[in-house]
Every structure is written in structure tokens, then in C-alpha cells.
């Protein structure tokens, strides 16, 4: 199957690339988070889809619509894309009911990535909560890739979930905990009988870990309530507002700044975001 995109030089930004669901992984105990491994049907589409950590794409289910989802894979993982999808509405439920081998569409990459150029040469503090950890997983994989690791200094990651069963990417978390290239602090709001790890909310753990703000940049992704309590801790640790980076979510349709619905003030989350600095965010209306 060829798409218009593959045939025409001028890309129609509304036509998705066809992809095959190669593998579906259930990520959590609640079984409402699944990671889809997608493989492009056409090599030229794969080559056209050049992305960086922090970007997102519209997952397209023919007959159901499209949904903007952060890209969980890293460009250093070649041959496939990963998207971790929470089952919430019509489209995501349909995706969850997919069988491996199903053909869906991917439209993107969309939005701005994390500021890798600014992060270069700095200590990187990655703070994630809940299922918003997806593009941070992409970032960690990207930084830890042998060809990239030396571009960044010390990498610290604080990742929290409601309960042990809700932690995503469990195998990788184990690998990263054993990897001297990254300091992992995994926490859950409340553990169970078998949990021997840390307990406590992400902002509290951040306060305990107290990463130095010296030559450092913090990437924050999580539910609004976590963000609300994390920003003050980072400011207290002397992180300048422009060195606090956050990724936002918004209802979207076109993904290219035309359909008019995802704006926060004079910016469109789809094309000016989803990555913002805390400094930018402070100057925008709190309409998110």
C-alpha cells in the first residue's frame, strides 16, 4: 500500500503513514496502559518520520479518528515506534482491543522535542509521574545510547507511580537501576506487601534527592497535581525557571496549528509545544 505522502513531493499533512501493530505489551496491573510497537509498511515513510524525544504523533484508527500520543521510543531504536496508550475514550479503547498485525496510521512527528541542544553538556534531572513517563522514557533511551551518552553529564531520574503495579517499563527500570550511567529513584505513592522500594510522592522524593541545580536542567512530566507541587521544589533547589522543562497535553485535532483548539494563550501546544519551559508557562494564562 502506497500513501499519497510517499508518492507526492509536497506532503499532505493530514494523511497518516500506514503502520502495522507488531507487538502489544500490557504495562500495568490495571491493564489500562498498553505499549504498541509499530512498524512502518513503507521504508520511505519510516525515513520521512525523523523525530526526537518529546515529540508526539497522531495515532489514526480508520473509522474512529485520531489521538495525539507522545512517542515513547527513542530515535536510537531503529525500525519501530513505541506508543504507550492509556485506555480512556473511544479511540484508545479500540486500540486496546487491537490484535497484533492490525494496520493503523501514524501522522507526525508533531510538536517540538525536549531542548536537546540546551541539555547538552548539562546534568539532566528527569522527573516523571504516572503514565506521562512515555516521552521521558524516550529521552532516557536517547541519552543512554552509546553514541549520545558523552554529550550529557550526570543523569538523574525520579519516577513515581500510584502503586508498584502501575510502574511502566518494568524490565527497563531494572536495567537502568543497575546502570551506572543513570541514577534512578523509583517511588510509589503506596507500596504493597512485596514492595521493598521507596514510598512517597514525587515532589517529596525530589526534595530528599535534592539534585544540584548547578549546570543542570530538569525535565518534568506528570499529572497536573504533581506538576503543581514539583515546580516549587525545583525553584527551592535553585533551578532557574528557564531550566525547568515541562511537557503538556491538550485536546488536539490537526496537530499543525490550524484547527485552533489546543492553544494556551498565544501558543499552540501542538506546534509551539508540547514542551514548554516553566518560564514560558508562567507568562501564559493558566488555561491548561
Amino acid at each position: 500500500m502506497k500513501t499519497e505522502n510517499a508518492k507526492s513531493k509536497i506532503r499532505n499533512p493530514y494523511i497518516p503513514y500506514p503502520v502495522r501493530i507488531d507487538k502489544i505489551t500490557i504495562e500495568n496491573a490495571d491493564r489500562d496502559l498498553k505499549t504498541l510497537k509499530l512498524v512502518f509498511l513503507n521504508k520511505e515513510d519510516e525515513e520521512a518520520f525523523q523525530y526526537l524525544p518529546g515529540q508526539f504523533a497522531e495515532l489514526s484508527v480508520f473509522g474512529k479518528g485520531e489521538s495525539p500520543i507522545g512517542i515513547a521510543s527513542s530515535p536510537t531504536e531503529e525500525g519501530y515506534l513505541l506508543f504507550t496508550v492509556k485506555r480512556v475514550g473511544v479511540l484508545t479503547s479500540d486500540l486496546h482491543n487491537s490484535e497484533e498485525g492490525r494496520i493503523i496510521g501514524v501522522r507526525g512527528p508533531l510538536g517540538k522535542p525536549y531542548p536537546l541542544d540546551v541539555m547538552e553538556g548539562k546534568n539532566v534531572v528527569i522527573i516523571g509521574g504516572g503514565f506521562a513517563f512515555t516521552t521521558l522514557r524516550s529521552t532516557i533511551r536517547y541519552i543512554l545510547a552509546p553514541e549520545n551518552r558523552s554529550r550529557f553529564q550526570k543523569v538523574t531520574c525520579i519516577y513515581g507511580a500510584r502503586s508498584p503495579g502501575e510502574l511502566m517499563y518494568k524490565e527497563e527500570l531494572k536495567e537502568w537501576e543497575a546502570n551506572p550511567d543513570i541514577d534512578m529513584y523509583i517511588t510509589v505513592d503506596k507500596g504493597d506487601e512485596s514492595w521493598t522500594g521507596r514510598e512517597g510522592f514525587v515532589p517529596t522524593v525530589l526534595k530528599q534527592v535534592a539534585p544540584s541545580a548547578d549546570n543542570a536542567i530538569a525535565l518534568v512530566c506528570g499529572p497536573p497535581i504533581m506538576l503543581k507541587f514539583t515546580f516549587p521544589v525545583l525553584l527551592e533547589l535553585d533551578f532557574p525557571p528557564e531550566m525547568i522543562v515541562v511537557s503538556l497535553e491538550m485536546r488536539m485535532k490537526c496537530g499543525i496549528g490550524k484547527c485552533g483548539r489546543c492553544n494556551i494563550g498565544n501558543t499552540y501546544v501542538c506546534k509551539d509545544g508540547p514542551v514548554y519551559t516553566y518560564q514560558q508557562l508562567r507568562s501564559l494564562p493558566a488555561e491548561y
Binding site: 499519497e4 494523511i15 497518516p16 473509522g63 479518528g65 489521538s67 485535532k253 485552533g260 483548539r261
Partner: protein
């Protein structure tokens, strides 16, 4: 003056020949239809004898570039088929008022900005816009307050002025010039008197319009974000969205899929920031939970964000939102300093 060289004129009695020649040259001609007492834009094929004796069209020409509903692509058994009805053919849009033509130039800023919207661009590229100078503004008109004029040329390829006995045709763009050259045997050079008469008509029309001082409105609105400025209009607002549907620059759209058995299509349809569903997240969270935030969004988008992003007010002063609001919300009362 360059204008005196390129401006053409055509006797009214020969204008039917002109419109007929347009159709004969393979253009689809969209122009004024006065059937039923209300001026609307319709495709003209059988009755090329058009008159510009109306104030303004009920609806703007937005639909010709951003249709109320448009197929983006089709699906068949999981395959994506780009919309087959891709070629709309070449078109002439005749007789829209300069406010609506200016609205097209504003829509260009959104839809032709990279990545260009293929569907919009195709329609835009294939259309020659001939706007008609406005000689009889309505009570609700305020184009001169938002940087327009009854004879604004923005968004037009050719500006037409009804001079009584003749029509003045002034090319604005190279596209308009090329178009007029195709029909040079039907037109003649405009006289100095005709150009003077046009100026008189424009001045008279402009003088009939109220002027609101909107200097610095973008900053004024940005400062008023948290103020009670939005209370009065939003408390009355029914959230019907008619203002956004009539607005020639409102371009927000939804994308939805329709499926019948194994065949489906992806449609884009007009949407409105005045609706609660517009920003409702799947999680149930809504960043604009009440009509206050939604009303504010509409005003901020037109008078502040658009200035930041495109350097333009996204209002052309056509007054349709005022005319059609079922609860008489008058935009002018909100934007006035």
C-alpha cells in the same frame, strides 16, 4: 501613477459578455445571487448578468476555501485513499466585499503557513478573487476600525467598483493582471474621471462608518485576561456558536471519521471555540470549563493572540456576528476602550 495605466473599465451593458467569457474560458464563476431577497454567493452559469446592488452577502466566502464539511481522505478495508475529488478546477469569485477579501488574506496566514494545508491551498491557488468596492455599509459595519476600508485590496486579485454606467476593474496582483489580460478586448483603459469617481464613492462609504479606536488592543486585552471584561458578554451568551460560523476569519475545525461497513471517510468540519466539547479532554478535564473562558478565548484569539502570531487583527469588521447573535451581544461593546 501605476494605477492609471493598469486600471481597466467596462461598460455595464458589456458586463454580461465579460461574465459569459469567464465561464466560456473554463472558469467556474461564483458571484452574487439575489434570489429570495437575500444576497448570497452562488455558482453562476445561466444568468451571467450580475448586479452588485447589495450591501453584503449573508455568509462570507469562507465556505469556498474551507468548506463547512470536507473529505480529507477515505478508507477502504484499512487502506487510506486520499480524497479523489482533489481538483476543483479554476474558479472566479466575483463580488465579495473587501472585508471578506481581507478575511481570505488572513486565512492565508493560517492555512498557507508551513506545513501548508493542501486542501485550502488548492482552492486558493485555483481561484481569482474579484472583490467589489463597498458603497453602502450597514449599521453593523466597522471595517475602518480594524485596518480595513470599503476599498481595501487585501486578499483580492482584482478590485471592482460599480460606477453607475461602468465598472472599474483594478488589478491588484499579477494573477489579477493576467486574468484581466485574457479579456482585454472587452475592457478599455479607465479614465481619470472614473478613478476620481471611485475615490468619491469610497470616501462617502467610509464616512458612514463609526470608528472605534483599537490602538494597542492586543496589549489591552492581554492585560484584561483576568478582568471582568468578559462577564457581561459571557453571561448572556447561549454558546450557540453562530458568531463563529458567520465570521469570515473563524477557522477552527474538527476532524471526525465516518464509517459505513468497511468504507469510511475522514471529514473536517467547522467547529467553534464557543462549544464546551471543543477543549474537553478525554480525561474529563476541560481547560475552558465555562462560557466565560470560551467567550474570552474568542475575543483574545481575534484581538490579541492573532496580533502576536500573525501581526493582524483577526476581525475584518463585517459585523455579521453582531447582526446574527440571538441575544444581541455586540462585539463593538467589548472591544471599545
Amino acid at each position: 501613477m501605476a494605477e492609471t495605466i493598469t486600471a481597466r473599465a467596462i461598460e455595464k451593458k458589456k458586463f454580461a459578455d465579460f461574465t459569459r467569457a469567464i465561464v466560456d474560458n473554463g472558469y467556474q464563476l461564483y458571484g452574487p445571487s439575489l434570489d429570495g431577497g437575500e444576497a448570497t454567493i452562488a455558482q453562476i452559469a445561466e444568468h451571467p448578468d450580475v448586479s452588485f446592488d447589495y450591501n453584503n452577502f449573508k455568509m462570507s466566502s469562507k465556505d469556498l476555501f474551507l468548506p463547512q464539511s470536507e473529505v480529507l481522505c477515505r478508507f477502504c478495508r484499512g487502506e487510506i485513499i486520499p480524497d479523489a475529488a482533489a481538483d476543483d478546477g479554476k474558479r472566479v469569485l466575483l463580488g465579495i466585499r473587501p472585508c471578506d477579501a481581507k478575511a481570505i488574506s488572513l486565512m492565508d496566514k493560517v492555512f498557507l503557513q508551513e506545513p501548508a494545508d493542501s486542501y485550502y491551498k488548492r482552492k486558493r491557488d485555483s481561484t481569482v478573487v474579484i472583490s467589489a468596492v463597498c458603497s453602502s455599509p450597514e449599521d453593523t459595519c466597522f471595517c475602518t476600525s480594524v485596518g480595513g476600508s470599503p476599498a481595501s485590496t487585501e486578499g483580492s486579485d482584482i478590485l471592482l467598483t460599480d460606477l453607475g454606467e461602468s465598472h472599474l476593474l483594478e488589478p491588484v496582483t499579477p494573477k489579477g493582471e493576467d486574468f484581466l489580460n485574457q479579456f482585454s478586448s472587452l475592457t478599455r483603459n479607465a479614465s481619470k474621471n472614473e478613478l476620481r469617481e471611485k475615490e468619491r464613492i469610497v470616501e462617502e462609504a467610509a464616512s458612514q462608518m463609526q470608528k472605534i479606536d483599537l490602538e494597542g488592543i492586543a496589549e489591552r486585552f492581554a492585560r484584561a485576561f483576568e478582568s471582568d471584561l468578559w462577564d457581561t458578554p459571557s453571561q448572556r451568551c447561549l454558546g450557540c456558536g453562530i458568531c463563529t460560523y458567520f465570521c469570515p476569519t473563524c477557522h477552527c475545525f474538527d476532524v471526525t471519521d465516518e464509517m459505513v461497513h468497511e468504507n469510511g471517510r475522514r471529514l473536517r468540519t467547522w467547529d467553534s471555540c464557543m462549544y464546551s466539547l471543543f477543549t474537553l479532554h478525554a480525561s474529563g478535564h476541560n481547560p475552558r470549563p465555562s462560557q466565560k473562558e470560551r467567550t474570552r478565548q474568542r475575543f483574545m484569539h481575534k484581538f490579541s493572540y492573532s496580533v502576536d502570531n500573525y501581526g493582524e487583527l483577526f476581525c475584518v469588521g463585517c459585523g455579521r456576528c453582531i447582526k446574527h447573535c440571538p441575544v444581541n451581544i455586540d462585539l463593538r461593546e467589548v472591544i471599545v476602550p
